[in-house]
Symmetry: C3
Subunit: 638 residues, 3 copies
């Protein structure tokens, strides 16, 4: 595995480069990620390039044995560009253009911005594409639209391209009008030019969904433009990638982008929400079934532990880059986390941590080149996230618990039980999976419904958690929620609008247990399904909370509310049915993870307590203790 | 009484119309409210009309015995119109035009929007004005300016017309300058063209008041334009109306609009705030002293009860329309409440509820054509609401308890005591009323003050609740608050700025009782009045909290703080003096309502408990029990 | 001492002037502050002046013995000006110009606004510069940029002048690029015209700091323009000043403005935060070491006490003006506090209060013309405030306790101990001071660091409180925080990013005491310093919380967290070392203040309890009682 750090030679005095690099080696770092924001440093005026300093830095790094990941600096167009062409800035929902001076505020839809971006990427690839220090290329940085708001641009360019996108997807205006439901408020379009981006607060869901898909596609297109500039100009051994961020909550389709990249990666900062980093790792490993990069992760020592690092390795990382070595003493991010102080002195705790990691046997094992499919697929629907991107205040008010939280809750249960998953998206084939986990898949097309039906019918095990299939891909509610899968699920739903819930929590009775559930529930009537638990309060009191149903050769386990307790119960049954090992839960923040390459099982203690002193039986039958008050990550060979 | 539902044939497959209509009949619904958003469905491109589908729908409905209320679809101009003329959109206070795609975002002040609105109304009236199925016309939908913000437009058209309005009202600039108090911050206008709409945060109160009055008048004008297009083209038996909303909190003058309409109505959704639906009903019944329409009410069964429906009938409704039958599976309002699921299957609970209602004798009685005046008038001042529409953050911060809440609190007391009222506005003559209730009439002109003086002097009974007459019609504070009525009230006020109150609640002592009061109090010195209660804490500790005063042949009862306890005490005394029956309060959410037509008294149990099992004495001397755990509405013949 | 009131004759009927003036005399008020908003009253159309009414008012006032402070009305340009030249309005960060109609919304950077402002000031000075009633001139009103937002304008004029400012300060673009750290995100400027005002959310700290300094300078320039128009045209005895507001939290440099004014003053409204009014007084007295004006203070009687007024006198006020006598019955500020009701009747409580104050011997003593330096200097850094003006949401989120609160906390301790201070700013020479108090001086230039080193080295006593010297004057972090002063302080800091603190409070152990500290702490290692207290919890648990260090001939006392307990402990030691008397703390809200002119000591009981009945030893050895339940201010001669 490669360990590295982001480094900004352009803001560091040249006289200090060598000492910095020597300090990195001391800290067992051998990979550099550079240049992502350095546009003005290499092209201070249009067409005037300054590469001398960069040549010297790369040569120096090479001479000291460093590998380099080269970024294209397109996230930060220089003032000479934004001053000449202010029209390349993102336009906000309020119709106002962003002002230059930050980052990621330029509009990926704009042809002038695209032109200059391709040009700088080309120049870089031409100059450094054969340099022996370089191992890969990172396109732009954290492509996600402007910070802090939903991905968007409402510029004339974006509007023009949105219309082209819509023509391609819907073919004719009649179809679009039907799918978006424009007839209800007289919004039927009689001309493509009448269609705009969703700036109005009451924009229809179809427009919001399409705009998010469009914007994800536009970013993919922007990636493609740079990919096509770089790929033919660089060594075959070099990979070209981009670093993803805002993974689940912005409607971006990272697996779609993966399809045009050589390798994938993301910026994985420590989350206190148990399992959420691992879920991201699984998404990126599953994108290509290959090792992925962690392009950025914390340099802070406090919450960073062997368990956190071991988790990256176990889930398929091939390299981990710390953000970042040292920062500029001023500028926007001057107080963010770094390995060193502003003067370049490394923090000894950080050095010790890296030395400790690098010395561990696990991190020295070879990285597999591909991973087999897991036995279990875990469905993530970007479209479900997209429904929450609506600007409609009435809809936003209703959504008590966001989709991503519901999905993470379910993942947490699996992580504790030791059920390893691939994260798949609608469109991924289900062949080869024994079991499908489908948390809160509110929006599913009929086509995807058919895939699920077929999967179960042919013997698959489905673990479903509410809400399921309330809307289709254009945001249309099915006449009855879940109806296209009613026979598979074995129950019928009552139309159940997401009214403000009357209580903060709801409960279900499962055997003798009273189990807490998140507020939204589906009110269902069992048809062929067996009821395993029922609600004790709320609007669905007395109705089924957990059910199981045989369909074809397969079987469905379903919770009509998102609930750790119910999901835990059903997941165990489902795993047993699908012949998947699962284990006793060792604690709230303890994960068991069978390695995707099949050569062992990992135990991660993310809690602040030791795993109990008398030893705990782990999968392979051994007993193990984890030192008290320490987090740890262990690989247990079968 | 007519029962109906809003229905959108334009978004429903034609093949399902008949079944929908048959289902409605099953649910005892015989009136349809249609077309309010269907502009693009009947005029998909400018001047190209599509009426075939609508002809067929109306004929089908007619053949099945339905009555139809026809809406003009002007709340939702189609894209061909807003694309050609983007200048018809409302301009917000920030100077930015609204983007098309929602509803009610077009500017009633704009002549091009007016032109097309009149044209579509004309075309509809021409075509369907003689159709036997049609009973009435609804102009636009919920005319109230853009959703979520105060009614406003700051477009050039609005500014031009505002200046014309001001010329008419104030005559000359000197008068306007004096009334608005522009001299204080050098804002004296020397030219009409210098005056704008209140976009600045510190706009004077006079400008805010006039702008709200202006906007209410502009909406009336917009109604008038359509009324004049429809009226001469349709059967005499047809009425022309509009459905009001945002009744008390947006500064719109619904009684003023009523003066140009054939009948009135409003959208009355269930409020958990006891009495607030009834207060609205009284406003609209009192507008013309005729039965009114409930153009929209909930289809949700859960909080909807016989008491809620009986209240509409008792207060003077002639028809009740449920919103709505079924909705489009997508579009902005696809998850809102309906009678059916998206596929058109009616919810059996809703059907049963309607069958139950329709079977009750009360709902079968004939509707009177007019109502006599009540004995009691209840004063609602749109101008008092308007003072809260100021954008001034300093003023907004001060207003601890809004005017509308204060007004509702007083109304609640009357509803529990069985004191039926007409809701009147400043300008309504007081002749014929025995008693005037005047809650928190902070803003009153001297002219209105004179009317009140005359009313009391000639023998009337006045029940007043703080604040009274602090400001005149231009927002000027009287030198001393309440001064023009000081002799009538029998006390003098001390100038008492609405400082942030030091405590959340204040108390008064009335006999042996300690009574809670809302924070703002008037600090007064009794002159001729008798003190009935005094404050025990707060800045007015020791000062009178309740007083009574003889003036001329009349009598005044007054609470210097808004307080249910004080108002209850004074209202009983006032009613007794005015020879108006009132009764023991049966509970927090139990209303007694003597029917305005004088043929009985209603009892509404809006609580979730039964009225006690041993029977309760009701007005006519009978004893009655209301079934436990049920709401009910009963008409008791004298 | 002079007592006065703001009065607006332009909005008061001329027939009531005389009675108003007589009423003022009754209330012991003899100074009038007029005309600050009266532009349209004296120039209703461009170039048409109306002075008759003003002549009459001034003559009348003079005949009744009043002194007059004349304001220039430039805070409120009239509609004829803003209609002709809408471009003079402030442009907000969102790029939208302010709309006319309020106040202080015109752009001090705009040359047209400057032109008309100078012209009206000139006309006034020409006409009234020799009038015997006039004693001084107030330029504009509360110059601070638009209300409610950070001082700013993003107009083209502001941008142009900002660039000129930057050229002057930085000389060349390379220097600016280096200081602002623009290279990090490719924001290196290659042309001055590329630089804008900080509209982007992620604007660099250097840009934010420079923009705030620039805006403070622009206001000084605007003051200078009017000063130069007035000064040569008026009597020598007249002073020219302006009334400051938003003193500590808007980044304005009031001591810098003081350098071009004849006398200074501020608007000092009662704050419940103990000591914060006194801190403001000290800033303005220290600006010129002369008496200052309180140009506005509350007219409300409730919280206004002899202690509050005595504090103004004791800290160096030469005159106190109440805001305001009576207000216009309408207009934006019609409900604000006044001496009279809207009709002009004075509130008897206010009259009694003023008569009581005027009768006290203390207020009759002569006002000194200058004040000597105090023994103790208290450092206020406008730049530290400026760092909080950044629009960057990431930085704003981090700053748990604002600089101004930290500074006030330290001042509170000194006020209770009786340590009188001059408030100085970076750049003020330290010669003559025995002790320097330096609370949370996060941003200090190396030059300022050298001054402090020299001060301590030569024998001075330094009382420092975290954070100290983390950033330099361009917002650059020092390689290690506090490094340039490490030898003076006797300890080294660990780089310690302002992470969200894990707890709301932290604790330190000092001897046997457990002392509460505000969340942010500096983690330090003592080198030569002695540790006096250590943290018991938090990320710095076990590290020093209070230290003392000998350096050269001087001594440093330092708290690594802001904490009243730690500062109290260290301040006593520091005062003792510096031979400054300090006393037992008498209570939370009791201040002891040795008069700056050295003729006594004041005791202010701002609490609502009496000082205890058995007598308390005060500085001069006497015992004193303050009446129970009363605030009081006493001057105790030595």
């Amino acid at each position: 595995m490669l360990f590295g750090t982001s480094y900004y030679p352009e803001i560091t005095p040249e006289s200090e480069w060598k000492q910095d690099l020597l300090n990195m080696r001391e800290a067992c770092l051998d990979t550099l990620r550079i240049l992502e924001f350095a546009w003005s440093a290499i092209e201070p005026r249009e067409g005037e390039y300054q590469f001398d300093w960069l040549d010297r830095f790369i040569d120096l790094s090479h001479s000291l044995g460093f590998k380099i990941i080269m970024g294209t600096p397109t996230a930060t167009p220089p003032p000479w560009l934004t001053t000449q062409y202010p029209e390349i800035m993102v336009v906000g929902r309020d119709g106002q253009p962003y002002t230059p001076g930050g980052r990621r505020d330029a509009d990926v839809c704009h042809e002038i911005y695209q032109h200059y971006s391709v040009q700088i990427a080309t120049v870089l690839a031409e100059r450094y594409g054969k340099h022996p220090a370089i191992i890969g290329w990172q396109i732009d940085n954290e492509l996600m639209g402007p910070e802090g708001v939903p991905p968007e641009s409402h510029s004339p360019s974006a509007k023009f391209q949105f219309r082209q996108y819509l023509k391609r997807v819907h073919g004719d205006l009649g179809t679009l009008n039907q799918r978006w439901g424009t007839r209800f408020w007289s919004q039927e379009y009689s001309d493509w030019g009448e269609i705009s981006t969703p700036q109005n607060k009451r924009s229809t869901m179809g427009q919001v969904l399409d705009h998010s898909r469009f914007f994800s596609e536009r970013i993919r297109h922007f990636i493609q433009l740079q990919y096509d500039a770089i790929r033919p100009r660089v060594e075959k051994s070099h990979w070209v990638s981009t670093n993803s961020t805002g993974v689940f909550n912005r409607g971006m389709d990272h697996q779609d982008w993966a399809s045009i990249l050589d390798t994938v990666g993301w910026d994985s900062y420590f989350s206190t929400f148990f399992g959420s980093n691992a879920l991201g790792h699984d998404l990126f490993r599953s994108a290509k079934h290959q090792p992925f990069w962690v392009f950025e992760t914390n340099s802070l020592p406090e919450p960073i532990t062997p368990a956190f690092w071991g988790e990256m390795l176990a889930h398929g990382a091939q390299g981990i880059i710390i953000w970042h070595w040292r920062n500029h003493p001023a500028n926007a991010e001057n107080e963010t986390q770094t390995f060193c102080d502003w003067g370049g002195t490394p923090d000894p705790r950080r050095v010790r941590f890296m030395q400790d990691i690098a010395a561990r046997a696990e991190f020295k094992s070879p990285i597999p080149s591909t991973f087999p499919r897991a036995k279990v697929a875990f469905l993530y629907c970007p479209d479900c996230t997209r429904t929450a991107l609506t600007p409609d205040p009435y809809i936003l008010k209703r959504d008590e618990v966001p989709y991503v939280s519901r999905m993470q809750k379910v993942y947490q249960v699996l992580a504790r039980l030791g059920v390893a998953v691939d994260v798949i998206q609608p469109g991924t084939g289900l062949e080869g999976y024994e079991m499908l986990v489908m948390p809160s898949a509110q929006l599913l097309s009929e086509e995807q419904g058919e895939r699920i039906r077929e999967f179960v019918g042919q013997g698959g095990t489905l673990l479903g958690v509410a809400k399921t299939m309330h809307k289709d891909e254009w945001g249309h509610n099915y006449n009855t929620p879940g109806a296209p899968l009613a026979d598979v699920l074995g129950f019928e739903m009552i139309r159940n609008r997401t009214l403000p819930s009357t209580s903060d929590s709801l409960h279900a009775k499962l055997g003798d247990q009273i189990i807490e559930c998140l507020p939204f529930v589906e009110t269902v009537t069992a048809i062929t399904a067996e009821v395993e638990a029922s609600f004790t309060d709320g609007i669905a009191a007395g109705c089924p909370a957990a059910l199981s149903n045989a369909y074809g050769k397969g079987k469905v386990y379903y919770a009509t509310a998102c609930s750790e307790g119910l999901v835990d119960h059903l997941a165990r049954k489902a795993a047993q049915r699908a012949n998947i090992d699962c284990y006793e839960t060792l604690g709230e923040r303890i994960a068991i993870f069978p390695a995707p390459q099949g050569d062992g099982t990992w135990l991660f203690n993310h809690s602040s307590s030791p795993i109990n002193e008398h030893g705990v039986k782990v999968p392979a039958g051994e007993y193990i203790k984890l030192a008290p008050k320490e987090m740890n990550a262990l690989k247990i060979n079968k």
